[in-house]
Symmetry: C2
């Protein structure tokens, strides 16, 4: 990994974890099991890719990135909630997540459903309470994030399309649409929100919008490749890039998308360096 | 029912339904089943008590109440999401809701979980996009609503406490805390938000805060009484007022709370009339 990115991640990850720790309700406050479950599934050693991307985009424009931490943490809460609900028996039915029992196995299904609901709700509360930027800009961030997390354009739509696609043949266009909404929308929103809150120019935001689109899709293609090669068969019966195109072609597609993402932020000059390094970092995961 | 309130409800209910119809994703837009489920559980002939209370409080201060409709509809979306998730097998496991199959029976569990998630997300998106009041006031509304819907102070906490209380003896204080958070918080927030967006004075907001507290708790006590007398045993094993105090005493408690609610808005003079009429209306449900 690029040493600049390495140093950046080493700085921001502990800060993201600390911010989450401050924002989540204490485990000692009732209802105890709910708050324990919220923390169990959020403070789990995740790679914090979404909040780190958000901070990277922000820090391209502002030297002091600490003020954006609550926003970045809120985005991670939405990611955590989505994993809790995705793992439920009625959905992907996964007993494990990152080598530990998934939330509904560690607690129970009711607590897992409600912990997810509470994380989603808390994310919006955190944004509404943020004093980082003028209120009209924060409302814009809220609406962008809600759209990226919801339906028809966001993560929830993608999860439904993904579940509906199971066991059915899908076309390349359909698969792209599933991945864009299921994973790409939230990743893209994380980057865009960081740049927007950093007060990037309209022209930079247009470049970043294109970067968001490519890196968001590439991220899920790479996830598909990793799942196909780790021998765990989590994606059995699911529509994936390796299932549709084969592993080699999927790698080529991911590489092509990342190359387009890099090109998209070339006009940003040195401001785009960290975002470019993220492309390398995420791409290295496949090789 | 008071004729003024009757006329008010006859005007606002169709407007709330129409607004929900405009704000929810069309059933013809993919993912179809998700959007059908969101509409199925929201456009279901509900009494719209929360949005009607919100509009009533707003219209105490502003003649034209139409601009608050999206906010009122967003509050109803949060209520609908909570019912969908409460009905799930892992929670209250109810197959029916208002005489129709509950969402997970009509569709399936995955769709029900995701439809609830999407309604919650959409509610915040609608608020963030509202241009009704200056942005800083809308952010305040968002944070108040998120707090009332979340944990530890709101609806999700109440639902957990309610589930945990099943089959265990609870004290009167505990039961009050459960009901306050499970039902009272969102009802109270609906009223408070209406008055706040109507630009009620600080002194009126203080009166209304007390009204919110009493009517919110009374509402759930009355719900307990209705459930205890309708012969359906939905609340079997649950902590309820009739189970703890008996039916007659529960009715006395509800009446006392409603009387306190009426007193709380007495200082508002004619502005408080509709809110007072709501107390009668909700109380009549028990007799």
């Amino acid at each position: 990994m690029n040493t600049e990115l390495r140093a950046f991640l080493d700085r921001v990850r502990p800060a993201i974890d600390a911010t989450l720790g401050e924002l989540l309700p204490p485990e000692t406050q009732p209802p105890l099991r709910l708050h324990q479950a919220m923390r169990y599934s959020t403070m789990d050693g995740g790679k914090r890719i979404r909040p780190a991307l958000c901070i990277a985009a922000f820090s391209a424009y502002k030297q002091d990135w600490k003020p954006i931490l609550p926003v970045a943490a809120a985005i991670e809460m939405i990611h955590s909630y989505s994993l809790i609900h995705d793992d439920l028996p009625a959905m992907d039915d996964d007993d494990f997540r990152r080598g530990r029992p998934s939330c509904h196995k560690q607690f129970d299904e009711a607590i897992a459903i409600l912990a997810g609901d509470a994380l989603l709700t808390l994310a919006f509360e955190v944004l509404a309470l943020s004093k980082l930027v003028p209120p009209e800009r924060m409302l814009r961030v809220l609406s962008v994030l809600a759209k990226a997390a919801g339906s028809p354009a966001g993560m929830i739509a993608g999860q439904v399309l993904d579940l509906e696609g199971e066991g059915h043949p899908v076309t390349g266009e359909q698969l792209k649409a599933i991945h864009r909404s299921k994973t790409g929308a939230l990743i893209g929103a994380a980057v865009w929100i960081g740049a927007y809150l950093g007060e990037a120019s309209e022209s930079d935001l247009t470049s970043i919008q294109k970067y968001c689109d490519r890196i968001g899709l590439a991220f899920q293609v790479i996830d598909d490749i990793l799942d196909a090669t780790d021998g765990e068969n989590r994606d059995e019966g699911k529509a994936t890039y390796p299932a549709l195109y084969g592993l080699a072609e999927s790698r080529t597609i991911a590489r092509g998308l990342m190359s387009e993402a890099r090109q998209a932020v070339q006009p940003l000059g040195s401001r785009g360096e960290l975002l470019m390094a993220f492309c390398d970092y995420l791409e290295e995961r496949t090789s």
